[in-house]
């Protein structure tokens, strides 16, 4: 028996900001969940199960917070799963929820991801104590900067490419009312003049630290038929993992990312991603990851990704728009960032992305990664169901 098709019929986000001091953690997740239910025109009683994800519990200082959140998410008396796969978790959480529908375990599932980073300091939360990590390797930027440098050396990409990505994403964010950073006076010169944090990554080429939540209602074919608004249909979804460090690891273009994309394309019948996919929401926490992932995901040949960025292909009005929402560079509640990519991809094919809508977007990829470039989760969503 084939799998049940999975539809996204409700999407909700909070307005992402540096600190949501007006709400508790429960209030934050419930706000996103309620908006997703409102979008699907469903009530809490219509939900069969809840799948929640977030990054390390140290970010809020609550161990396994889903136990405390059971009431706020209407999960009492229902199954509740908590996913944690590092930075890719928002995407993985959506995929675990989608599989409950695909396997016909449940008809309608609420999936939620969040981070309330103002409760702690994410950079130090991610910094392991010595001797497990060398001194001065503070936060994710310190880990990823050498990989960016390796990419630049390998491809000969000009130094300016990173700033072009940041300038584009921050301008896209101005069209997204939920984005954290709204830098109305942003200029390319300002990006290029911002302080160097982890050479070659500048302050303006780095993701912010955000409080935010994202939620989606995933449902089966019958649920989609009852939905008040167009559904986004999952055409393919996959997760891949590889170890953090090992001899022969390609930290610039990890095999796990290539394999994950290939699996998604196989499921969705994508022969040429550059031609068949209309837009991408990818996980770019540091600007240079846009060209790096363009290659890893098969949108450009090896060494050619930066040319797409430089020539404007990935602009909102380009041939392959990337991070129309402003991306992780403009909004980063870590545990939710992957789900926001997945949700923004779904918004595009539903034609509900507002000012940052790509005209005629029919197939859009959502992408997330985490750990030491080792955990990948992706889904491809379309405006038509998989069997259409």
């Amino acid at each position: 028996m084939s799998k049940e098709p999975v539809a996204v019929t409700g999407i909700g986000q909070t307005k992402h900001v540096a600190a949501r001091r007006d709400v508790s953690i429960a209030g934050l997740v419930r706000e996103a969940a309620q908006r997703a239910l409102d979008d699907a025109e469903l009530t809490w009683a219509d939900i069969d199960a809840v799948v929640i994800g977030k990054a390390p519990d140290f970010f809020e200082g609550v161990m396994m917070p889903e136990l405390y959140l059971a009431d706020a998410l209407g999960a009492v008396g229902k199954p509740m799963l908590r996913v944690h796969t590092a930075g890719s978790v928002g995407g993985s959480t959506a995929l675990v929820a989608a599989n409950l529908v695909a396997a016909r375990v449940h008809g309608t599932v609420l999936t939620v991801a969040f981070e309330k980073q103002s409760e702690s300091n994410a950079m130090w939360g991610l910094s392991l104590p010595i001797p497990f990590q060398q001194p001065l390797l503070a936060g994710a930027g310190g880990f990823f900067a050498p990989h960016v440098r390796a990419y630049m050396r390998r491809t000969g990409a000009p130094d300016t490419v990173g700033s072009l990505v940041a300038y584009k994403d921050r301008r896209n964010a101005l069209k997204n009312p939920y984005a954290h950073l709204h830098e109305h006076d942003i200029t390319l010169e300002k990006v290029q003049a911002s302080p160097m944090l982890w050479d070659p990554i500048r302050y303006s080429e780095t993701c912010p630290s955000s409080d935010g939540a994202c939620a989606m209602v995933l449902t089966d074919r019958a649920g989609a038929a009852r939905a008040p608004r167009p559904a986004a249909w999952m055409l393919g979804g996959a997760m891949r993992s590889e170890p953090t460090l090992f001899a022969g690891k390609d930290a610039v273009s990890p095999q796990a990312g290539k394999d994950c994309a290939a699996d998604v394309y196989r499921q969705a019948g994508i022969a040429d991603p550059r031609r068949d996919i209309d837009a991408v929401e990818m996980y770019v926490p540091f600007s240079w990851y846009e060209p790096m992932w363009l290659e890893n995901l098969g949108f450009a040949d090896e060494g050619e990704g930066w040319k797409l960025t430089e020539s404007g292909v990935t602009e909102l009005d380009g041939d392959l728009p990337v991070n129309m929402s402003g991306g992780v560079l403009s909004t980063n509640p870590i545990g939710a960032s992957g789900m926001i990519r997945f949700a923004e991809a779904a918004l595009q094919v539903r034609g509900q992305a507002g000012e940052h809508q790509v005209d005629g977007a029919r197939k859009v990829l959502g992408h997330a990664y985490g750990g030491g470039s080792q955990f990948f989760s992706m889904w491809l969503v379309g405006a038509e169901p998989p069997d259409a």
Binding site: M1, K3, I25, A55, P56, D57, F58, E60, G61, V62, M63, M64, P65, E66, L67, Y68, L69, A70, D71, A75, V76, G77, K78, P79, M80, L81, R82, V83, H84, A86, S92, L95, V96, N99, L100, A102, A103, R104, G107, G125, L126, L128, P129, F132, A238, M239, R240, S241, E242, P243, T244, F246, P254, Q255, A256, D259, D263, G371, Q374, F375
Partner: protein, 350 residues
């Protein structure tokens, strides 16, 4: 809802010795022999496995993303299809079961591990409570279980000698992996009415299970433990809104898993405190004909994050060995049995 499309079974189980402390070992070093053991039992290699899922907790490890290191033990190269839950491994098994059910994979490796020894687990578990209204008071896990035990005594559901009997029966196990076996003194009150003997030992350990679907299961195991049903439910977090003498979530999960359709001969319950076995026996309708916790249960060995998966593994092993035909396995999470999972396992007719 469509019926289960394919039969899925536990085909192998392995666990480490559960020890009071493993300070000379990292989590990976504790886990690796268990992974090798469980794969050896099936002849499978990492690359043969369709889906891998694990359960563990950063708060026990004391570091963010602690599960990433465990991947080194798995040998995730070439890259594998893999996921992780910040829950007991029983829920990782549930996620893997859905992957097999949807047809995405034919085999799955599930593992979990936890080291409680480095910190004070009573204090650590307070961080699991409502961060605004409860956690600032630091009510520890034993104190909360004691509230539950006292409520049971007040309701006439048990008394202290009966609780001591549960503790003694649990530790009379012949399970050589268990941490506490044989005659263990009931001891003084830790938090009244719970005595040392009513509380689980604090220890470290790891466990792993291999799942397989359909004919693949029969190839890998002479007598697979078929998962006839599996379900899990959560209750409200606030203890004040719950009736602590009952477990409606365990009962509902059991009902959804089909546990009440026919009697089981064996039950492996994840009841860290003796009093919680009383709650679960009632909710799961287990009478005197059911062998409860022949492994010794969590009172004999309670490695956090693995103890629930071990219940499923122990129940499955009994079916593999022909000592059970239909068994119930239970896992719990959260204060006073807040979240519960029930699986019903069966062997082919003999």
């Amino acid at each position: 809802m469509t019926a289960v499309s394919r039969d899925i079974a536990v085909v192998a189980f392995a666990q480490s010795d559960i020890l009071r402390t493993t300070e000379e070992q990292s989590e990976v070093e504790m886990l690796m022999p268990v992974l090798h053991d469980v794969l050896d039992r099936t002849g499978l290699k990492t690359a043969d496995i369709g889906f891998t899922c694990s359960g563990s907790c950063d708060y026990l490890a004391g570091r963010a993303f602690s599960f990433t290191l465990a991947l080194d033990g798995v040998g995730a190269w070439p890259p594998i299809s893999e996921s992780h839950v910040e829950m007991d491994g029983a829920w990782a098994l549930y996620e893997a079961w859905t992957k097999l059910r949807s047809g995405d994979a034919d085999t799955a490796l599930v593992y979990s591990y936890g080291k409680s020894s480095p910190g004070s687990v009573r204090d650590v578990l307070t961080r699991q409570l409502d961060p605004y209204y409860v956690a600032p008071l630091w009510p520890d896990s034993v104190a909360l279980a004691a509230l539950q035990a006292q409520a049971l005594i007040d309701a006439g559901d048990t008394d202290e000698p009966a609780l001591a009997g549960i503790a003694a029966r649990s530790r009379a196990t012949d399970n050589t992996r268990a941490q506490l076996r044989g005659s263990v003194p009931q001891g003084d009150y830790v938090v009244r009415p719970l005595r040392t003997g009513d509380c689980p030992p604090i220890g470290d350990g790891a466990a792993a299970v291999v799942l397989a679907a359909g004919e693949r299961a029969r190839e890998l195991c002479p007598r697979p433990a078929w998962i006839r049903g599996i379900d899990h439910r959560v209750e409200a977090h606030g203890l004040g809104v719950r009736n602590l003498t009952d477990s409606p979530s365990a009962r509902l999960a059991a009902e959804k898993a089909g546990a009440f359709e026919r009697p089981v001969d064996t039950a492996e319950l994840h009841a860290p405190f003796s009093s919680q076995e009383v709650v679960l026996r009632k909710a799961l309708r287990l009478d005197g004909n059911v062998r409860v916790n022949p492994s010794g249960g969590a009172l004999a060995a309670n490695p956090m994050m693995a103890a629930g998966l071990i219940r499923i593994g122990e129940a499955a092993s009994r079916i593999h060995r022909g000592e059970s035909d239909r068994a119930l396995a239970h896992a719990t999470s959260g204060p006073c049995l807040q979240q519960n999972l029930v699986a019903v396992l069966e062997g082919d007719p003999r």
